[in-house]
Amino acid sequence: MLNGYGSTILDGAWLTLMLALSSVAVATFLGLLGAAFRLSPIKWLALLGETYATVVRGIPDLVLILLIFYGGQDVVNRVAPMLGYDEYIDINPFIAGVFTMGFIFGAYLSETFRGAFMAIPKGQSEAGAAYGMSGMQVFFRVLVPQMIRFAIPGFTNNWLVLTKATALISVVGLQDMMFKAKSAADATREPFTFYLAVAALYLVLTSVSLLALRFIEKRYSVGTKVADL
């Protein structure tokens, strides 16, 4: 299939999937942290969360990727000799990719999670407190399960954008399916065929994600009223 390049591209697709899944894990962690900061009553924490969300969302993904990859490598190699480490440090593109994408989409998710926490009626946490739950118990038993329901539509959107944005990591040399397709296209002089194949694979990935997240949304919405139009 595809002049024998089919399996290399599928290998790349696996790497793309792993990159997307690992990045979304990092992004979810940073997003929750960012949302917690922004909702915090402590002023400087709220300001920090606000700055993170605004600055990262105001700069293109590609510029942040180039900045963190090349700039980060540069900074590490400028700082390391000061700490007495003289060899050149080459950052692993997969790890760097995961943290870069996680850092970028953490900012977008912090917006989603903040909105979701704010959408929970105040009476819910008051009711939890009235039952004698501790703050932690209220948070994990009452707030988090409801927050997930409110966050799923925004999360789905961000996951789709993130999945598609992973293609950009090929620009800095990670051998994902985009990178593999580029090499195959250069070797065979059939760029259209290979980029079309990659487009189809991305479409499969986004379609499956949509179906899966719709199923999850239904699970988390069990027992809620929906306006019937």
């Binding site: 180039l66 900045l67 992973t166 990659v198």
Partner: protein, 232 residues
């Protein structure tokens, strides 16, 4: 470690040239995208599956694949076919600026069409009934009532799309154009100062983003005041 301001100061003309290229790409692709989005949105609200389905498929495929892949398909991919290389369009299709605008235009047309279709669907039924009651034809109903009202109400979401497009234009640097990101890549490789070069590009994009946000706030004040909550 010190931030090298001298190099950045000297390459500022390059960055300002990049700003012009970025804005040019943005304006052309938004205009082309919106021109395609209006008919697509009208197709998307149609009850006939024969009209609705092609538009749905178009927006689904465009929104389900990465912008980078779409750009490569058009810029590198089309050259694979001899028919394209021999056609009268080849001088355009071998031009990076044209291909970038085409790819960005197609991309934003799909997103804008969905935004606009959503906005059309949320038209208050009373407006349509009133238009029918005064005897407007279907065409007049769309031209005078549905589209002006839907375009206004789409403004807040469309402003997000415009900012996403501003960020998307950075991909033009991958197909050799010297936009803001392209300028930063040039500075980065000429002086080997990636950190300074890309931070500067980031600052330029942040400023442009803030300016766009301000402009859209103004536009909303101009065209959406009638929907704002009443001041006490």
């Amino acid at each position: 470690m010190i931030f090298d301001f001298n190099v950045i100061w000297e390459s500022l003309p390059l960055y300002f040239g990049g700003v012009l290229v970025t804005l040019q790409l943005l304006l052309i692709s938004l205009a082309a995208g919106l021109a395609m989005a209006i008919p697509l949105a009208l197709m998307r609200v149609s009850k006939s599956p024969l009209v609705n389905f092609p538009a749905w498929l178009y927006t689904y495929v465009v929104r389900g694949t990465p912008m980078l892949v779409q750009l490569f398909l058009i810029y590198y991919g089309l050259a694979q076919f001899e028919a394209v290389r021999d056609s009268v369009l080849w001088p355009y299709l071998s031009n990076a600026t044209f291909c970038a605008c085409l790819a960005f235009g197609i991309n934003t047309s799909a997103y804008s069409a969905e935004i606009l279709a959503g906005s059309l669907k949320s038209t208050p039924p009373g407006e349509i009934e009133a238009a029918k009651a005064v005897g407007m034809s279907r065409f007049k109903l769309y031209r005078r009532i549905l589209l002006p009202s839907a375009l206004r109400r789409a403004l807040p979401q469309y402003s997000n799309e415009v900012i996403m497009m501003l960020h998307t234009t950075s991909l033009a640097s991958i197909v050799t154009l010297i936009d803001i990101t392209g300028a930063a890549r040039t500075v980065s490789s000429q002086h080997y100062l990636p950190f300074e070069a890309f931070i500067t590009a980031g600052v330029f994009y942040l400023c442009l983003t803030f300016i766009l946000v301000r402009l859209f706030k103004r536009a909303e004040r101009r065209w959406l005041v009638y929907l704002a909550p009443r001041k006490a």
